[in-house]
């Protein structure tokens, strides 16, 4: 145990000069450790630990001031859940060393500017909050903090800037008030009132088109899904009404008031918010997720109301804990469960009561956003697989009384399907009551069209036998192609062509037979696709060929969606089919009856992701080649030019040209993929809307809700990529002529970055 830790385990020790001459890195690590872990695992109180640490750091200032500054700035940014611990520490240091306090404030301002410049808006919030809490620690003078807030709020007067920009500045100010509202009001109530009134005006005129797209539930009951700024405003209003009495936040500085109030304060330098830059990426708006209220935790401490500021503070802190510790799940769990102040709120109940939470979510499935239902399906099935699939299914027997396309039975069906993937069919049969048999997934068996003698009348049957034997006897690709020439083409009258054009029967005969022989496992099927890649490429040379191969894969494996997904994935990666073909297939009439099943959307999103990764990969290659060329050119300038380096440069330039073309071609393919998808959505939705209108029928069928939310999902899940193509989308597809129901989705999406 090093001297410092030993020293710190006593309460209120004397400051002590370090005489060690260790490696600088070691010292830095030790300082970091001391600071990051202050208060953890100590028998002494937090206050005495802070006092001790302040003493140690004060003594280290002459030698390690910059390191200490760096570490403190970093914890302000990276450990927001321990904000008040570190503001107290800075307060104590400032009281002992006024200059250090000043330098720290300057360093924080520099850091704030950097984070804003780098689009790190979430971290910037923590920095501003830290600065505002420094007012409570007598490090920063209240009037100068108010002045900074005034500068932030003046952003709401800017014209021609995205709403999300002014949103952020308002959010920052409001989110600091739980910490510092009381102090600022005591010192500058007139200015603060003016500030709040300006904020109120802004919030009233703010546009909230984006909200429907982000709500988990479409119903207002039992809990309204509030827009995040509206919710925070309501919470601050209530706090103000309560005269800024905030009782949840841990405030170690209170214990040091007598020391801190003797300290001299610093004024924040005037801070002008950086202007709007076109490439700025402000945080997108959110809707506050609420599912519990005070009635849900009947025993123990009362749940703070949704407009109490405690709710905001607690949610912020829990959020921060998860963000900090996500890599270490045991630590994260420990941190969550040892949350300070947990005895005053029903924390354990709401973290641990998964069964109740699941039950509540199930009950509200009817109005839940489809994307959220997807997540619930994936989470719940995974959860069950870790607990022997034990569940009181009978509690959910209400789902058996409605149409199977309704959200509840659909949810159960998908859960059972996913559960089967993690176990096996008989297991699922065993775990659900017999009444649930209609929801049990089919046994994931291959369906072979040419199975037995009764199929002998089917066209092409004879060839399936020949091909099958050829494959089993390890015939070559050429031999098999020759055999396949025997398959008549139902699309043609005569066969005076070489048999090269699209022949659906040929594809069917070959693929059904091949996949049947390889049906045993994923590996067998992948091996088959690999071995006969040449043949597959030949057969799918045309767009129709690609579509048909997907059709056949579905036909044979329609009871095993997991297999369909992995085969489609393999076929894209080996370029047997392309992404647009998969999209067209999923939206085709043949697949309409499966359109609302989860596996369809998993395949589509996986396809889009592959396309995106492909583009990124080539872009990266291009960047690397450009960097190489630049380095080469720099070398050339310093050394004399010789034939070798000239050649190398020429080669690189050629490579760059080729890669440039590749990138453009990939981006074109990517854009086309999104165009296909959006076009298909528009066609399907328009058809439905027109049909309902002419029939005077309500448009809100389960299918419609599913479809429109799937459209939303495309936008939300791939927003970064889609934003590149907004111009094209707006000009070609999402025009004013579109039905307003469909256009609304596009407008909601645009509103996320406006």
């Amino acid at each position: 145990m090093d001297l410092c830790s030993f020293f710190l385990s006593f309460s209120g020790g004397q400051p002590h000069k370090r005489r060690r001459t260790s490696e600088p890195i070691e010292i830095e690590d030790r300082l970091e450790s001391l600071i990051c872990r202050v208060g953890e695992k100590s028998t002494s109180s937090l206050e005495s630990n802070l006092e001790g640490l302040a003493g140690v750091l004060e003594a280290d200032l002459p030698n390690y001031k910059n390191k200490i500054l760096r570490i403190l700035c970093a914890v302000a940014r990276l450990l927001p859940e321990k904000l008040t611990v570190y503001t107290t520490l800075v307060g104590l240091l400032n009281a002992r060393n006024y200059n250090f306090g000043g330098e720290f404030v300057e360093a924080m301002i520099r850091q704030l500017k950097e984070t804003l410049k780098n689009n790190l808006y979430n971290e910037a919030v923590y920095l501003v909050r830290f600065l505002s809490d420094l007012v409570n620690c007598h490090v920063i003078a209240a009037p100068s903090m108010v002045a900074m807030f005034e500068n932030f709020i003046s952003v709401t007067q800017e014209e021609d800037v995205p709403q999300v920009r002014s949103d952020w500045f308002v959010y920052v100010v409001l989110s600091c008030l739980p910490w510092v509202g009381k102090e600022l009001y005591e010192k500058k109530d007139v200015e603060m009132d003016r500030l709040l009134s300006q904020i109120e005006g802004y919030l009233k005129r703010r546009v909230k088109t984006h909200v429907p797209m982000l709500q988990v539930w479409t119903a207002e009951k039992p809990h309204p899904q509030e827009e995040y700024l509206d919710c925070l405003w309501a919470q601050i209003q209530k706090l103000k009404k309560d005269r800024w009495q905030e009782r949840h936040i841990l405030r170690p500085y209170i214990a040091f008031d007598s020391v801190l109030c003797e300290a001299l304060q610093h004024n924040l330098p005037p801070f002008t918010p950086p202007g709007h830059m076109p490439d700025a990426q402000y945080p997108m708006p959110r809707v506050i997720f609420r599912m519990f209220d005070y009635t849900d935790a009947p025993e123990g401490p009362v749940m703070p109301g949704s407009h109490s500021v405690e709710r905001f503070v607690i949610e912020e802190n829990l959020h921060c804990i998860i963000k900090t510790h996500w890599k270490e799940r045991k630590t994260c769990a420990a941190q969550l469960l040892s949350y300070p102040g947990k005895n005053k709120i029903p924390l354990n109940y709401h973290i641990v009561e998964l069964a109740q939470a699941t039950e509540m979510l199930y009950m509200r499935l009817d109005t839940m956003n489809t994307t959220c239902i997807d997540r619930l399906i994936n989470w719940f099935s995974h959860h069950l697989s870790n607990f022997q699939f034990r569940w009181s299914w009978d509690d959910w027997s209400d789902c058996l009384t409605v149409d199977l396309e309704k959200p509840k039975p659909k949810f159960v069906k998908e859960v059972l399907e996913k559960s089967m993937r993690l176990s096996y069919h008989q297991r699922i049969v065993d775990i659900v009551p017999p009444t649930f048999s209609a929801l049990i997934p089919a046994e994931p068996l291959f369906i072979y069209k040419y199975e037995d003698e009764s199929a002998s009348s089917l066209p092409g049957y004879a060839v399936t036998v020949t091909v099958g034997n050829a494959i089993k006897n390890r015939a070559s690709n050429e031999e098999i192609l020759t055999i396949l020439k025997e398959v008549p083409n139902p699309n043609q009258e005569d066969d005076d062509d070489e048999g090269e054009s699209f022949n659906p029967l040929k594809i069917e005969v070959f693929l059904q037979t091949l996949l049947h022989l390889a049906a045993k496992s994923f590996s067998h099927s992948f091996s088959a696709l690999g071995k006969f890649h040449e043949i597959l490429k030949t057969l799918t040379d045309s767009d129709e060929g690609k579509l048909h191969i997907l059709k056949v894969v579905y036909e044979v494996w329609r009871n095993h969606p997991q297999m369909i997904a992995v085969l489609v994935d393999k076929m894209i990666r080996t370029q047997v089919v392309d992404c647009a073909a998969v999209a067209n297939w999923l939206f085709s009439q043949d697949m309409a009856h499966e359109f609302t099943r989860l596996f369809i959307w998993e395949i589509l999103h996986s396809t889009i992701r592959k396309m995106n990764k492909h583009v990124q990969k080539i872009q990266k290659e291009l960047e690397e080649a450009k960097d190489k060329l630049e380095k080469q050119q720099h070398k050339r300038v310093s050394l004399f030019m010789d034939k070798n380096s000239e050649d190398e440069e020429g080669q690189l330039e050629e490579q760059i040209e080729r890669l440039q073309e590749k990138v453009e071609s990939a981006q074109s393919e990517q854009k086309n993929l999104f165009l296909v998808i959006f076009q298909r959505f528009i066609m399907l939705l328009t058809e439905h809307l027109v049909r309902c209108e002419t029939g005077s029928v309500d448009i809100s069928t389960p299918w419609y809700k599913n479809c429109i939310e799937r459209l939303q999902q495309i936008f939300l899940m791939h927003h970064v990529t889609i934003q590149q193509y907004m111009g094209t989308l707006e000009n070609l597809l999402f025009t004013a002529e579109l039905d307003h129901h469909i256009l609304a989705v596009y407008q909601q999406f645009c509103a996320l970055q406006l």
Binding site: K327, S385, Y424, S521, F522, S606
Partner: protein, 164 residues
């Protein structure tokens, strides 16, 4: 500016373990280097009945799986309770180490560890009887892994031996 705090960079779930493959062709340094860059995980304590499909479903939760190789008994050529999972990216494999290691597959707590990379031959158990070494010496009864360990099986009198 973007100062990282070493004290906060703990990521213990992705650390390389003490295990080193004794059959690895190369020295310890080379093996460690490969382990630190690997996209491949060894998965142990599987049931003999766990399928490639189940492995794929679970491990796909942390990213796109490139390939799964089910471990086989060298003699019987049947699954013998381990497999390799290869991801396209290291990051996805790291997520598996953080979030799938130590959780259940087919009702059993499975264990994942970094692997230097699949090579032909490594899909076979290295125990004398053909399965994994751990099943040679195991004393407990595990119905999902062939019952008693091979050595323990030899000491148990069989029906045939006792009857005349």
């Amino acid at each position: 500016m973007s100062a990282k705090l070493n004290a906060l960079n703990s990521d213990s779930y992705i650390d390389v373990s003490q295990y080193r493959d004794q059959h690895f062709k190369g020295n310890r340094y080379e093996q460690e280097k490969l382990l630190k860059q690997s996209n491949t995980l060894y998965v142990g304590n599987l049931s003999f009945y766990t399928t490639e499909e189940q492995v794929h479903e679970l491990f796909s939760k942390s990213g796109d799986v490139k390939r799964i190789i089910i471990g086989l008994d060298k003699v019987k050529k049947t699954a013998c309770g381990f497999c390799f999972v290869e991801y396209y990216t290291r990051a996805d494999a790291e997520h598996a180490m953080r979030f799938i290691n130590g959780t259940r597959l087919d009702d059993r707590i499975i264990r994942t560890d970094w692997d230097a990379g699949f090579k032909e031959g490594r899909q076979y158990g290295r125990g004398k009887s053909g399965g994994q070494v751990r099943d040679e010496y195991r004393q407990d009864y595990d119905p999902a892994r062939g019952g008693y360990g091979k050595l323990a099986q030899q000491h148990r009198p069989t029906e045939a031996r006792n009857s005349f």
